[in-house]
């Protein structure tokens, strides 16, 4: 009951949704999410590149050993 | 089939004989259990509340069980193991192992329970309730034995010793403990045996499940 009273004195609607703050929070969250997406994408690309390099190095050492 | 059974029986009797031969083994476990019960008695006397009685009983039982499986299995010594690996199938070995642990934990928990009734009193039990509670204890120690036999083998294989058994085993046995504690508190609150017996069924199902899982998985654990 205390909580209800508190809420009714201080309704979040006017503070959060009325003033457009929700848009800011949502926008920041979306930007963070897209940042995470880009970070993952870049990480994957770099890992794949390194993996290819490692494969090449593997081939080289093998051919060196053969010759 | 008959040969398999005789293998299991041999391994089981062998484990039992080894355990009984070094007298400090089983005696140490029992002293540990009784000493724990006596410590509880020192704190609460004979007038422990229902909840405390229940909680203390399960905690002491749990730790006695862990203590019992913490000792290295004698047959796990490399020279014996390499012989056994050729002589018997790992599944039979696991069955013998589980059977031995069921007996061992059964003895330990029975002694613990008797000590509990002796020291902390049986004020919370009326008539057959004490027997029903004992049934729960036996089922719980069976479930613990089936699971811990496997976990103990696993941590021995990983070379981790007792602490690894505890780390791997404690979370896994939580479902067992949840069921058996609620069974115990149901009995103590005076709920009829028939209305709470589904907990026992659940424990039996868990034991059967753990045994089946162990039976399937133990060969992978054991082969070189």
């Amino acid at each position: 009951m205390m909580l209800y009273t508190l809420l009714q004195v201080n309704p979040i609607e006017g503070f959060f949704f009325g003033s457009g703050k929700s848009m800011v929070v949502g926008g920041v969250a979306v930007i963070i999410l897209i940042g995470i997406g880009l970070w993952l994408w870049r990480m994957e690309k770099r890992i794949q590149a390194l993996s290819r390099q490692a494969d090449d190095a593997f081939q080289n050492t093998k051919s060196n050993a053969a010759s | 089939m008959a040969q398999g059974f005789s293998h299991i029986r041999f391994l089981f009797q062998h484990a039992l004989r080894v355990e009984l031969r070094k007298k400090h083994g089983i005696a140490g476990l029992l002293v540990f259990a009784v000493a724990s019960v006596y410590t509880c008695y020192q704190v609460t006397g004979t007038h422990a509340e229902q909840e405390s009685w229940n909680a203390l009983a399960w905690v002491v039982l749990l730790f006695s069980a862990f203590n019992a499986v913490s000792k290295p299995w004698d047959d796990d010594r490399p020279e014996i193991k390499s012989f056994l690996l050729h002589a018997v199938s790992p599944n039979h070995w696991l069955i013998a192992r589980i059977a031995f642990y069921v007996v061992l934990l059964g003895v330990v928990s029975t002694v613990t329970y008797a000590a509990f009734l002796l020291f902390l009193g049986m004020d919370h039990f009326t008539g057959w309730t004490a027997v029903h509670y004992y049934l729960g204890i036996v089922m719980t120690s069976t479930a613990l034995a089936t699971l811990l036999a496997m976990i103990q083998a696993l941590s021995t294989r990983a070379g981790g010793g007792f602490s690894l058994t505890a780390v791997l085993g404690l979370p896994l046995i939580i479902p067992v403990i949840l069921v058996s504690t609620s069974y115990g508190s149901d009995l103590m609150r005076g709920i009829a045996f028939g209305d709470t017996a589904h907990h026992l069924l659940f424990l039996a199902t868990l034991s059967a499940g753990f045994t089946a899982l162990g039976y399937i998985l133990f060969p992978y654990l054991w082969r070189e």
């Binding site: 009714q8 929070v25 | 992978y220």
Partner: protein, 354 residues
């Protein structure tokens, strides 16, 4: 780019989910019907007129003050309460003008308004100091339930209020963890089932999926804890579902510890696969089976550990299903990156050994 389109799709879905989660407003609801004159005398001689204050959250009573109608209902019995005064959008004064003999003590409160639609407050009114006669009938007023006339909004739930948004974070976390642990389970079975014992490729899959799944499990615990603080008043409560969730995370932590304590790669692959099978089955028991046996505060309880009792309405579903799909796609992507990193690590180690 085309092969990676599902990754972009997952991020786009999540962007939509996060945006709507934070920007869609909450629908209106009733908070409380409060007695205004608690100290007033209750003499039975004069006709009793007590005034109550009806408190709403996010309601729009100020727009059309004459259109607010308040009813109380118990089963088939329905009575209208006169509105004395509408103070503002969320506060109105109600007179408790009722016959002396009533069929029940506790009543549900309903409020009709053209903008908000029909709002409902379960057991909102308790009428003491009335004669209770179960057979007493009441004159049924004109009452028609109608839908709100509002832009897109999330449904109002008592006690949950704005935290309904957490549904889009908390529940998909667990679904994603289930998916990843399932991937790990299958990988462990295949690790044990393959003939070539030195091949640890499935073990790497199991490891990567458990690592990422653990991250989602911990996030599920954290978001759940936040929600518990708001709705139940404590960061952690003793509840079968919560215990199960914590124990699951502990079991998988044990899996990672087991991996760390074995040096030999082949042995580690086999032992951890065995333990992983145990862990997944315990996960199923703890989160799917046990909660059905026991009572729980967690939503969807009394038999079903799902989310049915949330009364997912169309506005929630339009965000919740994309949220589940989006988080699962992100989880799968993270798992694949983690797997590639592990494989790269192994390649480099082999290269160094040459």
């Amino acid at each position: 780019m085309i092969q990676g389109s599902w990754k972009i799709g997952g991020i786009a879905l999540l962007a939509y989910v996060v945006w709507t989660t934070f920007t869609v407003p909450l629908g209106p609801g009733l908070l409380e019907l409060r007695d205004r004159n608690e100290a007033a005398s209750t003499d039975g001689i004069t006709k009793r007129i007590e005034t109550y204050e009806l408190i709403g959250l996010g309601t729009h009573w100020g727009a059309g003050t004459e259109d607010l109608r308040v009813f109380i209902r118990k089963g088939q019995n329905l009575a209208q309460l006169p509105v004395i005064d509408v103070i503002d959008d969320t506060h109105a004064h109600i007179a408790l003008l009722l016959p002396d003999t009533l069929p029940s003590r506790s009543w549900d409160v309903l409020a009709n308004h053209p903008v908000d639609g029909t709002l409902f407050l379960q057991n909102g009114l308790f009428t003491d100091a009335y004669i209770i006669e179960p057979t007493a009938g009441l004159e049924p007023p004109v009452f028609d339930e109608h839908a709100p006339n509002l832009p897109h909004h999330f449904p109002f739930q008592p006690r949950i209020f704005e935290t309904i948004r957490n549904l889009m974070l908390h529940v998909p976390m667990w679904f994603t963890m289930f998916l990843l642990m399932g991937i790990g389970f299958v990988a462990s079975i295949r690790q044990l089932g393959q003939k070539e014992a030195s091949n640890t490729v499935f073990d790497q899959r199991a490891e990567a999926s458990v690592q990422v799944g653990m991250a989602f499990g911990v996030l599920g615990l954290l978001t759940g804890s936040l929600w518990a603080r708001y709705t139940w008043g404590a960061w952690w409560v003793d509840d079968p579902q919560l215990n199960g969730a914590l124990v699951t995370v502990l079991v998988y932590a044990g899996y990672l510890i087991l991996r760390a304590s074995v040096e030999d790669q082949r042995l580690r692959a086999r032992l951890s696969a065995v333990y992983n099978l145990f862990a997944f089955i315990i996960l199923m028991i703890l989160l799917m089976v046990l909660p059905r046996f026991t009572e729980s505060l967690h939503p969807g309880k009394g038999g079903n550990p799902g989310f049915n009792s949330y009364d997912l309405d169309s506005s929630l579903r339009a965000v919740f299903y994309p949220a589940v799909l989006g988080w699962m796609l992100l989880g799968t992507w993270m798992y694949r990156i983690r797997l590639q990193a592990t494989q790269l690590n192994q390649k480099l180690q082999r290269l160094n050994q040459r």
